[in-house]
Each structure stands twice: as structure tokens, then as C-alpha cells.
Amino acid sequence: MNLTQPESLKTDLTTWIIGPYHGSLPAPMRLSLSLDGEMISDCHVETGFLHRGLEKSCELHSWKAAVAYSDHLDPECAIFGELVLCLAVEQLSELEVPERAQSIRVILSELARISGHLSFMVRMAKAVGSETIIHYLLRDRERILDLFELLTGARFSLNFLRFGGVSADVTDGFIERVLEVCELIRIRMKEYNDLFTFNFGFLKRTAQVVPISKRLVLASGMTGPNARASGIELDVRKKFPYSGYSKLDFSVPVGRGDSGILGDVHDRFLIRLREITESMEILKQLLDVVPSGEYLNRKFKRDFVVPAGEAYARVESSRGLLGCHVVSDGGPTPSRVQFRTPTVANLMAIPQVVRGIRIEDLPVVLASLDLGIAEADR
């Protein structure tokens, strides 16, 4: 509900079907809108345009290949898909992960989180029509992709994690480069704040626009930054720590309603900005003491077999709680691989979120929900 506008313009309803490909949509999906003047009175979301059959593909190939498939779950932050699959498989096969490998995994996760949040801000900037900052953000994200390339050889589909560790040790100078990038982004925060957080035009488009209530968050199962923006303190890294997050000292930003209403678009934006700062804090702590030792559990061999059974693991991806359920029958291929992706819950909430808002706010709201349609359609 938009509190600055009257609820209805009392005109006949118009139907407008947007998509599956349209500039105001962050990803391929189809929205069937009922419009009352310029207000959205009803909305139906149709997805599945990016379905690639990832889960089925995992069943058709070896366990090792499943890692490569799971990093296509969300092309923007590939590491989270890999990580959650590895965690589930390691849990099932009781495979220890060396501490050094855990640190490398967390470094990659936090870098991916920063990069994912920068991409989120790019989409926000596009939605509000702010052109300059898009280039600033992409320039800084390039630096993080460079780091991925330095470590793994790839910028997007990393395919870097292995069951029981990672596929290679950190290269020379990698840690120094990560620190450099952190310092750079810390300095650039001022630019982001000037062009976004405190910018009058940006506040006009986002402050007090389309708040999401705690109730709706709970009802739709939203997690991650979107839930935290609405005041729900849920972070997998704190609640179900994995990969050594319990040893790290960091706080989880929660929405404060800085612009007047808790959980509005501006809160959802701000929470990501603050998470970038937290992620850099985590990175600094980690990089100070990267434990020495193996980067891969040597029990992981070419003929690695996952014992029969099932396991569930979850990680905090840049969009929210990412879960993975694996079932093994002891054979060479997974019997079932199932993902619980945060975007699905966000998509479910869209009809209720957008009811009663102006259609001019629609792109902004969709961008603020940070929809990763690739992981929802998978």
C-alpha cells in the first residue's frame, strides 16, 4: 500500500500484461496486471521462462558434476549454489572440511555477497532512472569479478568448490588484492551514499514507498535482506552457522525504518548497503588469520561415492536462505537434488506487495525485492 496516494481513482479496470521480456522487469517473468487508473488493483505472476531443469540434470550426472550444475543456480552469485550442495553432501558423507578450505569458502561467499548486492543496486538505479551510479557500481563489481578470476579462473560460473574443500589453494597476492578491493569499496561507499542514500531524488522514489509488513514476510516465507529490512532478525550465518561463521565477529543489520516506515523500498536498499560493510568486516577478520594446512580433504578421490541417505544444508545467500536437500542411494549419481531458493518466496509475495501501488513504482518494487529468476525457475 502506498501511503502517499489515494487508494483508488474510481475508473474502470484495464488489463496490462507485461513480459516475459520487458525493460521494467528485472528478469524474464510475466505479470498480468489489473489497473485501476494508474493503480495496480491485482497482479498475477507467471514464471518458468528460465527453466533449465537443473535439479534433473544433477540426477543424470555424477556427484562431481552436480557442483557445476548448482553454480548455474544463480549465475550472479554462483558460489552459494555450490556451497550449499557441498555442505549437504559433506554432511551426508561425513566428510571433514579443512579449516583453510572453510576460510576460502567464506572469503568467496562474502565477495559474492558484495558483488550480488552491487548488482542489486545497479538494478535499483536502473529502476529509478539514475544513470551515473550504474557505471560506478559496475566498475567496482568488476574488481570483485577480477578477484574471482584470479582465484578460480572464471568470473561467473566458478565451479571451484569440491566435496571436502576447494579445488585450488589461494594464489600469491590474492589476499592482498582482496584487502585492496575492500579498502576501495569502503572509500566508494561515500559515492554510493551521496548518489543514493541521501540523494533527494532517490529518497523521493524509495522512502515510504511500498513497505512490506512483518506479517507478509512471515506468511510468504521471505528470508534474507528482504525479511531483515522488515525487522525480522533471521540470518543463517548466525542461526545455523556453517563453514566457521560462528568464529567470526559480525553483526546482522536489521531494518530500522530510517525513512519513516519499516520495511519500505529504502530500507531494503539500505540493508544491502550495510551488509556490504559487514561483509567487508568479515573479510578483514578472515584475511588476518587464514589458517594454514590442506585446502582439500584428501579422502575426496576420483571414485568418491556418497553413502545412501539424505541430508539438508542451508546457507545465507545474498538473496536469503538457500537450502539444498540431497538424497543418495549409494550409486554414482545423486538420487535427488532439491533446492530451496529465496526468490520463490519473494515471487509469491509480489501480488500482495504490489496491490494498490502506482505502476510507476512497479519497477522500483520489483528491483527492491532482488529477484533472481534463474534460481526460482532453475
Binding site: A127, E131, I359, V364
Partner: protein, 359 residues
């Protein structure tokens, strides 16, 4: 229409070798075409280049640098690329009609475009108001162009343009009156004569009320003609292009050049009304006139005017590139509730100031 002030046209055409004693309408048409071809079109190319280079600098990019030296020929390359695109077959007569109305309304202002003391075609007490008529017809053309598109982006774009134009025309008109209060006339020549070369003689710095009027005039012009950053009516992200979402190729280049021209003519008018018009230092004008070098004077005036115009335009582009785009309802709210009261305040203040000075 042809008065003694317009002898400049005859002088130019004679200097270019055309026979004397041609009918007056031919002179007028020739003047319009040459203004368009020699002033407006090159300005459009230059501005699009400068805008892209400036934006690239602001955005940590390189900008056009392949076509010609430092990418200078990029506007020409873009134009030819758009011109050679094939047109769509199912183009309706309505869309043709409204695009023509849109274009004609725009370029009808060429007749009143003030480009120098010796290059003012229509110089009457009504000259200043003619662009408003064009802007309203322009909005009508744009709105109907959107409505005839048979698509939701077109409808919304059309309606939003109409809402914006209606909102913007009131404060623009009121703040325009302030300049007349100072100069005592709405003739372009009188408005220019009331100012001078130095910024301290410009209307904008004459008194605080003129300053307010200037700010209101610039902003309401952006609203009236839907120029970034207040271009919500034409290019909100939800309608993705709105009125122009169906246009491409030649029609798109026509539409986009029209939008540039709207921006350009508004900036020219702003410079003439508030920012010292084409006034050169008095001794330069006098000595050039005494020496009979009228063409040189006209050129210098034109260049000085265009320099200030480009400066103003680039300033607006700078603001537009850095800031977010406002929603249309926010724009109209702002125009009705903020700009309009300020324009009335400026008018009352400027009138009192003028009256006090007269006593």
C-alpha cells in the same frame, strides 16, 4: 512580417549571391530553412556529442571515440544508421498524423527563435508567447501520438505528457511575465536591450525576484517539454519509452531530434530572457556597426548566445545524469504546489521592485 528589422535576411541573401527583389515569402522561407540547417541541426549534433562525452566523463567511461577524431563524427554516423532502417508496414495513418503535428508544432517555433539582434524574424509584442502555443500543440501531438499507438505504454505516456504540460505551462508563463516587467516590453529586441554583456546586467541578477523567476522558468520548462531529469511523462521505466516505444528508424530520429530541439529552443529563450541574451560588450557592438561589419557582428552574437545556451543545457544534462527520475505525480505535485506559488511570488515581487525603481 517583413519589417525594417528583417532587412538582415535581404542583406544575407544578397551577400550569398541571390538576386534582389525576391518575394517576401521566399525570403522568410529561406531564413527559416537556413536557421534550421545552419544553426539547429549542427547544434543538435554538437550537443549530442558534448552530452555523451560529458556523461562518459562523469560516469568513468570513455564515450564515443571511434568515429572521426575523438569520436566527433558519431552524431552523423548515428543519424545515417537510423535513416537507413526500414520502416514498419503496419504504421497507422493516425500515428503519421500525430507525428506530423508534433513535428510541425515544434518547428513552427523556428520563426520566433531569437538568435541575435539582426536575426529575429518575428519581433512583436507577442513573440515571447508564441513558443507556449507551440509547446501546447506539441503536447497535444505527443499525447495523441501515444494514444493512437494502441498499447498501454503509449496510453500512459500520452496521458502523462498531457498532465505534465498542463502543470508546467502555468508557472512558466507567470515567470515569463517577470522579465517583461523589467524590460517593459515582450519584444525580443527590447528584452535584449534591457540587459548587457556583464553578468551584473543580466535580468537573472537584477533582483532576487528575477532570480526566483529564472529558477522557476528553467524548471517549469523542463516539466513543460518533458526534458530530463523531469521527463517522467516520456520515459518512466515502467512504460519503457512510453510515447516513443513504438517509434524507430527515421521516425525515432525525427522524434528524438524534436525532443532535442524542444530542449534547445527552451534554453535559447531562457538565455535571451534571463542570461544576457546575445549582448556583446557595448564598444564591440558599436565599433563593428560603425565599421559596417554587420555580418561579423551577427555571427559573434550568435556564437555568444549559443555558448551560453550550451552551457545551460550541459548544466541541466549534468543534473539529469546524476539524479533519479521523478515520478509524474511527483513532478506535477511539485509544479502545482511549489513552482506555481513561487512564480506568483516572483511576479508580485518583480512588479513591486519595478514600481519602486520607477518612483
Amino acid at each position: 512580417m517583413m519589417t525594417s528589422e528583417n532587412s538582415w535576411i535581404v542583406a544575407w541573401s544578397n551577400a550569398l549571391g541571390f538576386p534582389e527583389g525576391l518575394p517576401q515569402w521566399l525570403y522568410a522561407v529561406g531564413a527559416l530553412i537556413s536557421v534550421f540547417v545552419f544553426v539547429v541541426v549542427p547544434s543538435g549534433g554538437l550537443m549530442s556529442y558534448l552530452e555523451r562525452k560529458l556523461a562518459a566523463d562523469l560516469q568513468a567511461r570513455v564515450g564515443p571515440n571511434r568515429t572521426g577524431p575523438a569520436g566527433l563524427l558519431q552524431p552523423i554516423a548515428d543519424l545515417f544508421k537510423l535513416l537507413q532502417k526500414e520502416s514498419r508496414v503496419d504504421w497507422s495513418w493516425k500515428e503519421n498524423l500525430w507525428l506530423s503535428v508534433h513535428t510541425m508544432a515544434l518547428y513552427s517555433t523556428l520563426a520566433v527563435l531569437p538568435l541575435g539582434s539582426m536575426a529575429v524574424l518575428v519581433n512583436t509584442e507577442m513573440s515571447v508567447f508564441l513558443p507556449f502555443w507551440s509547446a501546447l500543440v506539441l503536447a497535444l501531438g505527443t499525447m495523441l501520438l501515444g494514444l493512437s499507438q494502441n498499447s498501454v505504454p503509449g496510453w500512459f505516456g500520452g496521458i502523462r505528457v498531457a498532465a505534465q504540460t498542463l502543470a508546467g505551462s502555468f508557472p512558466a508563463l507567470i515567470s515569463l511575465l517577470c522579465t517583461g516587467v523589467r524590460s517593459g516590453s515582450f519584444r525580443w529586441s527590447a528584452l535584449a536591450e534591457s540587459q548587457g554583456f556583464s553578468p551584473w546586467e543580466w535580468t537573472v541578477f537584477a533582483n532576487p525576484f528575477q532570480m526566483v523567476a529564472f529558477s522557476v522558468f528553467v524548471m517549469s520548462g523542463l516539466v513543460l517539454l518533458a526534458i530530463p531529469p523531469l521527463d517522467g511523462g516520456l520515459s518512466m521505466s515502467d512504460i519503457h519509452g512510453g510515447v516513443s516505444s513504438h517509434l524507430y528508424g527515421r521516425r525515432l530520429s525525427l522524434f528524438q531530434f524534436g525532443r532535442f530541439y524542444g530542449f534547445f529552443f527552451w534554453s535559447v529563450i531562457t538565455v535571451v530572457l534571463f542570461l544576457g541574451a546575445w549582448d556583446l560588450p557595448a564598444q564591440v557592438t558599436v565599433s563593428l556597426k560603425a565599421g559596417g561589419a554587420n555580418q561579423v557582428l551577427a555571427l559573434l552574437e550568435l556564437i555568444w548566445l549559443l555558448l551560453k545556451t550550451f552551457g545551460l543545457m550541459l548544466l541541466i544534462v549534468w543534473v539529469a545524469k546524476v539524479n533519479s527520475r521523478s515520478r509524474v505525480d511527483q513532478i506535477t505535485d511539485f509544479t502545482w504546489k511549489v513552482l506555481s506559488p513561487f512564480s506568483l511570488f516572483a511576479l508580485v515581487g518583480a512588479s513591486l521592485w519595478a514600481g519602486w525603481r520607477a518612483i
